[in-house]
C-alpha cells in the first residue's frame, strides 16, 4: 500500500483507473493507518466533488437492477456521459466472504471505457450498504464521472441509507403475477423520487401497466418529500431498451427543479450532516470496542447477560461507565 496521499489525490484527479481503484481500496480498508491517509485524501478531494448526478437504485432481487444499469449506463455513455457504478454485494455472515458477480450481468458496461464499475462487499455493515459507499462516491466525482449510480439490494435499511447519500432515488419494481404490490415497503415509498416498473416486455406489458396504476395509487397515500416534486411512476424494459431515455429525462427534470428551488443544496447540506453523524457514531463504536478495558470485561459481562445473571440494561450501564461515568445520562 502506498503511503503518500498525493499519489492517490493526483491519480484520482487525473482519472487514472488504476489509482482510483486503489484509492477505493484505501478508503475501504479496516486498518487505522490506511484510514488516516484516506481522511487526508478525502479532505483534499472534497473541493473537486459535487458536480455529478448522484443516483441511487434499489429493488427486490429479480427486479432486474443489473440489467437496468447495463442498459441505462450504456445509453448514458452513448450520450457522452462518464458513468460510475458502485454495486454492493452481501458478505456471508458465516464465512465473511462474498461473491461479487455484478459485472457478469453488466457485460457491455463492464468493458466500456467510459464506465467504471466497482462492486464492494457489504462486509457486515447493516442493510446491504458498504461502509464506505459515500466516500467512494466522492472519489468517483473527483475523478470526473458525470453520473454515479449506487446499486443496492432492497433489504434491511439499505434504501434509506442509500437515499441519504444520493440526489435521486429510484425504486425498481416488477409487476407481480397477481394484483398485489410486489413487496414494497412504506418506508421506501417515502424516500422514492421515482418508481420504475421494469420488465414491461413481451406478454408482461399489460401487467406492468396495471402495476404502474397501483403504485401511483399507493404513492398518493404518502406525503411527498418535496413540495415541488411528486414522484412519477413509469414502465420500462431494460431488456428491450424501452423507456430508458424517459427515465433519464425525469432525473434531469428533477435536478433542474430541485436546483432552482434550492432544495438540492439543502438536501446535500443535510446529507453532509447525516454523514458526519454517521461517522461520529462509527467513531464512538470503534472507540468503545477498541478500549482495552472493554475488551477485557465484555466477554464476562456478555456471559452474565446470556445466563440471566445480569439484566441487559444494567450490563450496558456498566460497560458504558467504563469509558467515563459522565457519559451516562
Amino acid at each position: 500500500m502506498y503511503k503518500d496521499p498525493s499519489y492517490f489525490i493526483q491519480g484520482v484527479l487525473d482519472n487514472n483507473r488504476l489509482t482510483l481503484a486503489r484509492t477505493i481500496t484505501l478508503v475501504e480498508s479496516t486498518l487505522m493507518t490506511h484510514q488516516d491517509i484516506a481522511k487526508n485524501v478525502i479532505s483534499e478531494l472534497l473541493p473537486h466533488t459535487g458536480k455529478a448526478v448522484r443516483l441511487g437504485i434499489t429493488g427486490v432481487p429479480g427486479a432486474g437492477k443489473s440489467t437496468f444499469i447495463e442498459s441505462f449506463g450504456t445509453m448514458l455513455t452513448g450520450l457522452g456521459y462518464r458513468v460510475a457504478v458502485l454495486a454492493i454485494d452481501p458478505s456471508s455472515t458465516r464465512s465473511g466472504g462474498s461473491i461479487l458477480g455484478d459485472k457478469t450481468r453488466m457485460e457491455k458496461l463492464a468493458v466500456n471505457e467510459m464506465a467504471f464499475i466497482r462492486p464492494s462487499p457489504s462486509s457486515g455493515s447493516l442493510g446491504g450498504v458498504a461502509r464506505k459507499t459515500r466516500e467512494t462516491m466522492l472519489l468517483c466525482e473527483a475523478a470526473g464521472f458525470d453520473v454515479i449510480i449506487v446499486e443496492t439490494v432492497g433489504v434491511g435499511q439499505s434504501e434509506t441509507t442509500v437515499a441519504s447519500m444520493v440526489d435521486f432515488f429510484m425504486v425498481l419494481q416488477i409487476s407481480g403475477a397477481g394484483d398485489e404490490l410486489q413487496g414494497i415497503k412504506k418506508g421506501v415509498l417515502e424516500v422514492a423520487d421515482a418508481i420504475v416498473v421494469n420488465k414491461a416486455d413481451g406478454d408482461n406489458v399489460t401487467r406492468a401497466k396495471l402495476a404502474k396504476k397501483q403504485y401511483e395509487t399507493a404513492l398518493h397515500l404518502v406525503a411527498p418529500s418535496s413540495p415541488n416534486w411528486s414522484p412519477p411512476v413509469m414502465t420500462c424494459s431494460a431488456l428491450e431498451q424501452v423507456g430508458l431515455k424517459e427515465a433519464w429525462e425525469i432525473i434531469k427534470q428533477h435536478k433542474k427543479i430541485m436546483s432552482a428551488s434550492g432544495e438540492l443544496d439543502e438536501k446535500r447540506k443535510e446529507q453532509a450532516m447525516s454523514w458526519m453523524l454517521f461517522l461520529v457514531k462509527e467513531g464512538l463504536e470503534n472507540w468503545f470496542y477498541n478500549n482495552e478495558e472493554i475488551k477485557k470485561v465484555l466477554p464476562t459481562i456478555s456471559a452474565e447477560v446470556e445466563s440471566g445473571q445480569k439484566a441487559p440494561t444494567r450490563a450496558a450501564d456498566e460497560l458504558v461507565s467504563i469509558l467515563g461515568s459522565d457519559l451516562l445520562f
Binding site: 483507473r17 481503484a21 486498518l31 458465516r94 465473511g96 466472504g97 461473491i99 461479487l100 457478469t104 462492486p119
Partner: protein, 717 residues
C-alpha cells in the same frame, strides 16, 4: 425342492456378520438422494409400473429395438475435430479405415459462437477445441472423399447452427449428393446452452425459432436427418447427478416439441426424428438405470401430445463417456474409467457411443489415444459377448429398483418445471442452473474430503508424476491459414450475390421465411459463418448471459460429513480473517474465463467455494479478452486473478493477460491458471509470470491454500 429362502433369516445372518449392527446401517445415500440398500429382492419391485415390459415395445424401458444389439450393435461414433479442415479430414479418413462407423464433428469455439477466424475476439481459439470452419470451402475440404450419401454425420453445433448446417447441405449438393439423401444428426439443442455450455449466440426466443425452422425444413427435405440431439451430456458434465440430467434433458425435449407444434407442425412429422444424447459417468448401475428410466419417462411424457406414430415417443440416444471423470493424474487410469462407462452405456441400451481418449484431461487426442478409445468399443462388441442379449440386466432387482427411483425423482422435477410454465420459463427463473451448480459444489466437496474416491487424485496418488505420452498441439499458424483463406474467398466470390443473400437472411429474421433455406443459399454464395451470423444478429441481438452463483453448498457438504472437515474450513476462515486483520481487507480474487470457451462449471465451483472459505470473489462475464479481464482486475483492485482454460487457449491468453496488467502498472496483481493445461506447458506459463497452475482434479483446499500462501507472502510482511 429346496425351501424358498426367508428374508428374515437373511437379516439375522447379516446382522450376525455385521457383529450385531443392522444391515440397514450399510445403506448408501447416492448423490441423487436415492437410498441404496445392500440387498434387493423381488419384494422391492412390487407394484412398480416400470417393470415387466419388452424391448422394442412401449414404454421402451428395455430398449427401442426388439432385438437390440443381438440384431445390430450400437454405432461406434467418435467425436473429433481440430486444426484445419484438411487436418481433420485426414484424421477422419484414418479412423474410418480402422473400423469407426459414423462421423462426429467437433467445431472450434470461434465457429460455435458465430465468429470468423479473423475476428480479434477469438484469436486464442482458432482450431483449438475443434476444427475451424469459416465457409463452404472449408466444409468441402472437411468431407473430401467421404461419401455423404452413405456416411452418417453427427455435428455438434448449436449457436451457429444455421451457417454450419447450411454449409454442410450446400457442400453436399455441390458434390452431387441431394439433401434428401443426407443422414446424420445436428445437436441443435440451444436450451442446454443457456443452462451449461454457453455456446449460444442469440437470445432464447429467436434461438427457439431457429430450432423450429430447422425441424420444419428437414421434415420437408431431409427425411433421414435427425434435427436435434437433446443433450444431457453437458448438464452432467456441469455437475448434475443422474436424476437432474434425466429431468432437465427431458424437460428440454418437451419444450422443443411444444415449440414445433406451436409453429404449426404435426407431432408425428418431427418427433420420430428427435434424438437424445446422455452423459455416462462412473456411477455404474445408476447410469444403466438412468437410460432405462429416461426411455420410460419420454414415452410417458409424449402421450400428452397424442402421437399416432409409435416412433414419436421412442427415445433413441447417443451416449458419451464422461470427460469430467478423466484425470490428469495417472492418466492411463482413464482407459479403465472409459471402459466401465462404456459398459454402463451399452448395458443401458444406447444407440451410439463415443468413448473418450485417456489423454483428454490434458490435451487433444492423438492418433494413438484415439485408437485405444475406439478399440475399447470394438472389444466390448466383439470379445465380451455382451451383445448377444437384449437388455441383459432387465429383471435385476437392483437395476429395476434404481430405474423406478430415477423415474419418480425425475418426474417430481418435471412436474415442478411444468408448474413454472415449461423449461424456457424455468431457465429464465434460474432454477435448473442453481440446482446443477449446487450439485457440482457438493460433488467437489465430497471429492476434496475423500468421500468420493478418485484413484490417483485423492487416493493412491503418485509421488512423482511424469507425463510420458505424446501431446497434440494445434499451432497458431492455423489461424493465419484461415485468415488467408478468408481473404481469398472474399476476393473471388460474386460480392453482389453474397450481399443479396445476406440481406435475405436479415429479412427472414425480421419476419417470415425459413431461415435454413436462406442460409443454404448464402452458403452457396460463399458467405462466411461470421457474415451469416451477423446478418441475424442485426435483428436478434447477441445474448448476454447472467451468472448466478450458489453459496454455502461447498462448506455445508464439507462439514456435514465429518467434524474433521469442518476444522479444515475453519482453518481457512481463520487465515482469511487474519489476512483481513493484517492488510485491511479480505483476500480478493477475480475468476475469469477468457476466449470463447463457455464451460463455466470450474470457475463457479471455485468462486462458490472460495467465498465459503472467506475470500471476496469477483466473477467476470464469459468470453473475455485478456484486455477486458485486465480492466476488470484493475477496476475491482483484486489481489490475484484466477484464469480458467479448458479449450487450449491458455498459451496465448494467460501470458497476454499478465502483459496487459503489467502494461497498465498493475504488475503486482498476480495471475494463476487452472483447467485443462498439459504439464508440458507449465514451464512455459511459469516463465511468462504465471504464479501457480492447477490441473484438473485439484482439490479446492489445495488451490485455496496455494493462493493464500502467495498472497500472505506478498502482502503480510
Amino acid at each position: 425342492m429346496a425351501q424358498k429362502p426367508n428374508y428374515n433369516e437373511w437379516v439375522e445372518m447379516a446382522t450376525k456378520q455385521m457383529k450385531g449392527k443392522s444391515p440397514d446401517s450399510l445403506t448408501w445415500k447416492s448423490p441423487e438422494g436415492i437410498d441404496v440398500k445392500c440387498l434387493y429382492t423381488a419384494a422391492d419391485l412390487e407394484g412398480m409400473d416400470t417393470v415387466g415390459s419388452l424391448p422394442g415395445m412401449a414404454p421402451y424401458t428395455r430398449g427401442p429395438m426388439a432385438t437390440m444389439y443381438a440384431g445390430r450393435p450400437w454405432t461406434i461414433r467418435q467425436y473429433a475435430g481440430f486444426s484445419t479442415a484438411a487436418a481433420s479430414n485426414a484424421f477422419y479418413r484414418r479412423n474410418l479405415a480402422a473400423g469407426q462407423k459414423g462421423l462426429s464433428v467437433a467445431f472450434d469455439l470461434a465457429t460455435h459462437r458465430g465468429y470468423d477466424s479473423d475476428n480479434p475476439r477469438v484469436s486464442g481459439d482458432i482450431g483449438k477445441a475443434g476444427v475451424a470452419i469459416d465457409s463452404i470451402e472449408d466444409m468441402k475440404i472437411l468431407f473430401d472423399g467421404i461419401p455423404l450419401d452413405k456416411m452418417s454425420v453427427s455435428m455438434t453445433m448449436n449457436g451457429a447452427v444455421l451457417p454450419i448446417l447450411g454449409m454442410w447441405i450446400a457442400a453436399a449438393e455441390e458434390s452431387g449428393v441431394g439433401k434428401e439423401k443426407l443422414n446424420g444428426t445436428i445437436q441443435n439443442d440451444i436450451l442446454k446452452e443457456y443452462l451449461t455450455r454457453n455456446t449460444y449466440i442469440y437470445p432464447p426466443a429467436p434461438s427457439m425459432r431457429i430450432v423450429s425452422d430447422i425441424m420444419a425444413y428437414a421434415s420437408k427435405n431431409m427425411p433421414r436427418y435427425n434435427t436435434i440431439s437433446i443433450s444431457g451430456y453437458h448438464i452432467m458434465e456441469a455437475g448434475a447427478d443422474s436424476v437432474l440430467q434425466t429431468a432437465f434433458t427431458l424437460a428440454d425435449g418437451i419444450e422443443y416439441v411444444r415449440a414445433a407444434i406451436e409453429s404449426g407442425m404435426d407431432v408425428d412429422t418431427f418427433a420420430p426424428r428427435l434424438s437424445f444424447f446422455f452423459g455416462i459417468g462412473m456411477n455404474f448401475f445408476m447410469d444403466i438405470a438412468m437410460l432405462r428410466a429416461a426411455r420410460f419417462l419420454w414415452h410417458r411424457s409424449m402421450q400428452q401430445f397424442k402421437p399416432t406414430n409409435i416412433k414419436s415417443s421412442m427415445l433413441r440416444t447417443h451416449c458419451q463417456t464422461s470427460g469430467w471423470s478423466l484425470t490428469e493424474q495417472d492418466p492411463y487410469n482413464n482407459i479403465i474409467r472409459t471402459t466401465l462407462e462404456a459398459m454402463s452405456a451399452t448395458l443401458g441400451g444406447t444407440q451410439s457411443l463415443h468413448t473418450n481418449s485417456y489423454d483428454e484431461a490434458v490435451c487433444l487426442p492423438t492418433d494413438f489415444s484415439a485408437r485405444i478409445a475406439r478399440n475399447t468399443q470394438i472389444i466390448i462388441q466383439e470379445e465380451t459377448h455382451t451383445c448377444k442379449v437384449a437388455d441383459p440386466l432387465g429383471g435385476s432387482y437392483y437395476i429395476e429398483y434404481l430405474t423406478n427411483q430415477i423415474v419418480e425423482k425425475a418426474q417430481e422435477i418435471l412436474d415442478e418445471i411444468e408448474e413454472i410454465g415449461g423449461m424456457s420459463k424455468a431457465i429464465e427463473s434460474g432454477m435448473p442452473k442453481m440446482r446443477i451448480e449446487e450439485s457440482a459444489a457438493r460433488r467437489q466437496a465430497r471429492i476434496d474430503q475423500g468421500s468420493d474416491v478418485i484413484v490417483g487424485v485423492n487416493k493412491h496418488r503418485l509421488e512423482d508424476e511424469k507425463l510420458d505420452f505424446e501431446i497434440l498441439e494445434v499451432p497458431d499458424s492455423v489461424r493465419l491459414e484461415q485468415i488467408e483463406r478468408l481473404k481469398e474467398i472474399k476476393s473471388t466470390r460474386n460480392e453482389a450475390e453474397t450481399q443479396a443473400c445476406l440481406a435475405a437472411i436479415t429479412k427472414a429474421a425480421e419476419g417470415e421465411g425459413n431461415l435454413l433455406e436462406v442460409a443454404v443459399a448464402a452458403a452457396k454464395a460463399r458467405a462466411t459463418v461470421g457474415e451469416i451470423s451477423d446478418a441475424m444478429e442485426k435483428v436478434f441481438g447477441r445474448y448476454v448471459a447472467t451468472t448466478q452463483c450458489v453459496s454455502g453448498a461447498y462448506s455445508s457438504e464439507y462439514s456435514e460429513a465429518n467434524p474433521e472437515s469442518a476444522n479444515v474450513i475453519e482453518g481457512f476462515r481463520k487465515r482469511t480473517e487474519n489476512f483481513l486483520a493484517k492488510t485491511g481487507r479480505r483476500p480478493r480474487i477475480l475468476v475469469t474465463k477468457m476466449g470463447q470457451d463457455g464451460h463455466d462449471r470450474g470457475i463457479k465451483v471455485v468462486a462458490s467455494s472460495f467465498a465459503d472459505l472467506g475470500f471476496d470473489v469477483d466473477i467476470s462475464p464469459m468470453f473475455q479478452t485478456p484486455d477486458e479481464a485486465a480492466k476488470m482486475a484493475i477496476e475491482n483492485d483484486v489481489h490475484i486473478v484466477g484464469a480458467s482454460s479448458l479449450a487450449a487457449g491458455h498459451k496465448s491468453l494467460v501470458p497476454e493477460l499478465i502483459e496487459k496488467l503489467k502494461a497498465q502498472g498493475a504488475g503486482e496483481i498476480g495471475v494463476v491458471a487452472g483447467g485443462v493445461i498439459p504439464p508440458s506447458d507449465y514451464d512455459y506459463l511459469y516463465d511468462k509470470g504465471c504464479k501457480a497452475i492447477f490441473g484438473p482434479g485439484t482439490p479446492i483446499t489445495t488451490s485455496a491454500s496455494k493462493v493464500l500462501d502467495l498472497l500472505e507472502a506478498q502482502y503480510i510482511k
